[in-house]
Amino acid sequence: MNAPTGIGARVKRKEDQRFLTGTGRYVDDLPLARATYAHFLRSPHAHAKIKSIDTTAAKAMPGVVAIFTGKDIADAKVGGLICGWVVKDKHGQPHKAPPHPVMAVDTVRYVGDTVAMVVANSHDEAKDAAEAIKVDYEEKPANVDLAKALDKGAAEVHAAEAPGNLIYDWEIGVKADVDAAFAKAAHVTKLDIVNNRLIPNAMEPRAAAAEYDKGTGNYTLWSTSQNPHVLRLILSAFVLGIPEHKLRVVAPDVGGGFGSKIFCYNEETMVTWAASRVGRPIKWTAERSESFQTDAHGRDHVTHAELALDKDGKFLALKVETIANMGAYLSTFSTAVPTYLYATLLAGQYTTPLIYANVKAALTHTAPVDAYRGAGRPEATFVVETIVSKAAKELKMDPAELRRKNFIPSDAFPYQTPVALQYDSGNYPPIIDEAIKIADYKGFEARRAEAKSRGKLRGIGFSSYIEACGLAPSQVIGQLGGGVGQWESAQLKFNPTGNVQILTGSHSHGQGHETTFAQLVSDKLGVPMENIEVVHGDTATTPFGMGTYGSRSLAVGGSAIMKAADKVIAKGKKIAAHLMEASVADVVFENGTFKVAGTDKAVPLGQAVFAAYVPHNYPLAEIEPGMDENAFYDPANFVYPAGTQICEVEIDPDTGVVEVISHTAVDDFGNIINPMIVEGQVHGGIVQGVGQALLENAVYDKETGQLISGSYMDYTMPRASDVPSFKLGYKVTPCPHNPLGVKGCGEAGAIAAPAAVMNAVHDALAPLGVSHVPMPATPLNVWQAINGASK
């Protein structure tokens, strides 16, 4: 028998064959005849006035085809880049929306801001010419220190449109009620934390290539996009004005995104726009330094939080004040991240009855900040799980016990939190129990003592996260200011010979859709895996869809596939009933075959499909030929994965080096389609979370605004040797409102891990009297914390 391939099987990823043998097809691989190459001249300053740009000498350089500046774009009436989510501030006013020109016109606002585009016959010639462009800048003071960005006197990024750098002052919850609860509290735990800024670092840098067909007036843009349909919509409707049907966007193989490739960027816009001016295809691929400087960064919050507890350790109320960095311009979904994806998650897994959060979004002279793996939810989990562990320390309570005491009871679902979300399902106590068992929590004190005998400080940290993913339903998203729907599409397109293409509006850039989605159809329709092809990422072939982010692809996109498969079965039943001369009501579908109950009559799906395409004996009066079913699925609610991670670290007090000794994750992702892929997602997520906790940090020089961590010489990416082998476990409460009972697994690791690691670090250092280490807990930060404490 063949290895199982259905739901729950550990099927090896179909796509890995081509990825591992170098036969993937990425944007940069595209052979485009007569291609030209673009290079962008970028601002070396964080903030400066452009007094003049002289391209005369550059235009005369060998191989130069064209040079465009911000003024050319403005003259051509190209629209600015948009922010697609209107967040209303606490007075009901829409957020400040400063313009985001595709290329800087008279002011540059961060190091890397786009100043000019050179198109030449070769990349080197484009770079040579860029060096010959003379830009006269008048440098201005920069504001890159988030904590001071809203202070009087801070340099303003968009003085006219966003005075004082404030994009919005937003709140959720009733402050007076929360204050009243604090007044009655037996204990209050206070926390001041910075959620460090991260640079996404997808393995494949961003790239764009565009071609204009003069004969038809059609544009094609190949882009490293996570959501080609949305990119096309934005470019068409808001930025370039190319009618949607005249613009095809293709996102072929894409090497990682982590959120950073959701957004509509300057370069792809310029490449598309310029393709028709130049009359030849244009290719652009970011160099790594450009990725560091211009990919939308992630996180970057400064937060003060307070948790009120009663004498028994029950949470009474939570109060959170956050300043969130937006960077110099509002990226596509930037406004939603620190509000609807952050503050709404502050209940965590707990019954905290009253929550108030105030979020101020601030502009700085830094790269735009937007969604990055987890987007808002890691920041929320970091606040909640750090303050809960800190409270446990202060109250001398076991951190697991304090969590258990406050968990939403298993029978309380669906559970309405005080911060808008209604958790559909969950069962938290068995998750933490399982994690405790796997991590051998009971044996920890013995391990701590043993480490001490070796001169090491050992600590353990918990993080019980909640996540809302698969944003939904569209109606609610619209009410909250989101500019798009949040459904997903699917099409099951059978060929006459019985093999099938799954066309999806979501997009795989590492997640393994080509395997997981094929498993769904193989399981549901009994089609062998090798007869299934998943097609994604091309607006010309796939139905309009929302793309992949926010752990939505399976819960939303997979559900759409199931709906389409239902339609295939329904139609197949009619065909089979006709072929078997039976009544449709008597036909059942089992293991890929239509049968009439109680008889030996059977029509395999393949036969029904063949009949649909060669309808010689077919109920043409009732149904159309062909087997090509479309479905759109708009979920009733978010899905709510949850879990507990336990991290154990050892710290060398002489050097401050933190070593992650063990890391356990027990997750409830609902039903699991491919455990191997899920493990991969969890592993990758934890590594990114450990990266944030111990290694990664985007640092701008506070005076000059230069990006100091602008290469791998200074930006510490996690390496294999930085993490142990992970211990994973699962508990399953199926999602009650989608047909697969699935939640999402793409972001969980990154959401939970930072708090687990930092709590372990704080636990290890507690005996030295250290109560706070800034994240990331680099050797320097740990050493300084130890030394500050021992002074």
Binding site: E131, T655, T778, Q784
Partner: protein, 265 residues
């Protein structure tokens, strides 16, 4: 990168000849530093003279009490050399902890010391072992070779042909890698040779330096206890987002003690 003329001579004499009289010509060993510099357009040489084709420049020999390593010898070859492991295991260890496998299979000892990156590992070994650097024109003592930040005693067109390391009675290298680049944030090489005890620190300052106070204490008592309380001043040490000067000064002491303990094992 900008255009340049590329040469791959077969003999040292040809290489020297190609470099002679050309102000903007640059020798290249493994290219591990030079090529990224070219790609970032930070250098614009007229000619690049690749030393990779010169057989006489690569290889490891034991000559009496010395291990002699040719300038073009790759880090990976030093790390895995039975001769080096036998005579000065700490040197093989050092070479095996440079960068990553790709870098170790391209990067060379000649390129590394000629470049004199303040965070490079080899300068620690060269100074602590009191090695002699041989070039096409003469010899340099270790102490006179490393002059300052990216600065050496090499004159224009002068090529490192080999480095001769005296065998050590005891030696060890302890490296605290920069978390991001994994170059040495602080590296301490401690060696006891016929010539005495030397403690060389790389990564911490603008250029490799010796810690006399530690050397004196260890000469009397080669144990980590002997240097427990010897602190190097933070003044003048490097300071960046990964380590303050104070932290580096502290690490010098920690790494030195660990190196002595390792050397005594």
């Amino acid at each position: 990168m900008y255009d340049f003329h590329y040469h791959r001579p077969k003999t040292l004499a040809d290489a020297v000849g190609l470099l002679k009289g050309k102000d903007e010509a640059r020798p290249m060993s493994g290219g591990m530093t030079l090529i990224p510099t070219l790609k970032q357009r930070l250098a614009k040489p007229s000619d690049v003279v690749d030393l990779g084709g010169i057989k006489e420049l690569a290889g490891i020999k034991v000559e009496g009490n010395n291990v002699v390593i040719g300038g073009m010898t790759r880090h990976a070859d030093v790390a895995s050399s039975a001769d080096v492991k036998g005579a000065i295991p700490a040197l093989a260890y050092l070479a095996g902890h440079i960068g990553d496998p790709q870098v170790r299979n391209r990067g060379t000892i000649g390129g590394s010391i000629a470049n004199n990156d303040p965070a490079a590992d080899y300068p620690g070994a060269v100074v602590a072992l009191n090695a002699t650097v041989t070039t096409n024109t003469g010899k340099h003592t270790a102490d006179s070779f490393f002059k300052g930040l990216f600065e050496t005693a090499l004159s224009d067109g002068e090529l490192v042909t080999s480095v001769s390391f005296p065998k050590a009675e005891k030696a060890a290298y302890m490296k605290f890698p920069n978390p991001a680049s994994r170059y040495a944030m602080v590296g301490v090489f401690v060696a006891k040779t016929a010539g005495g005890v030397r403690v060389a620190v790389t990564g911490a300052g603008p250029c490799v330096f010796r810690v006399k106070a530690m050397e004196d204490a260890l000469a009397k008592n080669f144990s980590s206890d002997a240097i427990k309380d010897i602190k190097v001043p933070a003044d003048g040490l490097n300071s960046d987002i990964h380590a303050s000067a104070e932290y580096r000064a502290h690490l010098v002491n920690v790494m030195a003690r660990r190196a002595v303990d390792a050397a005594n094992k």
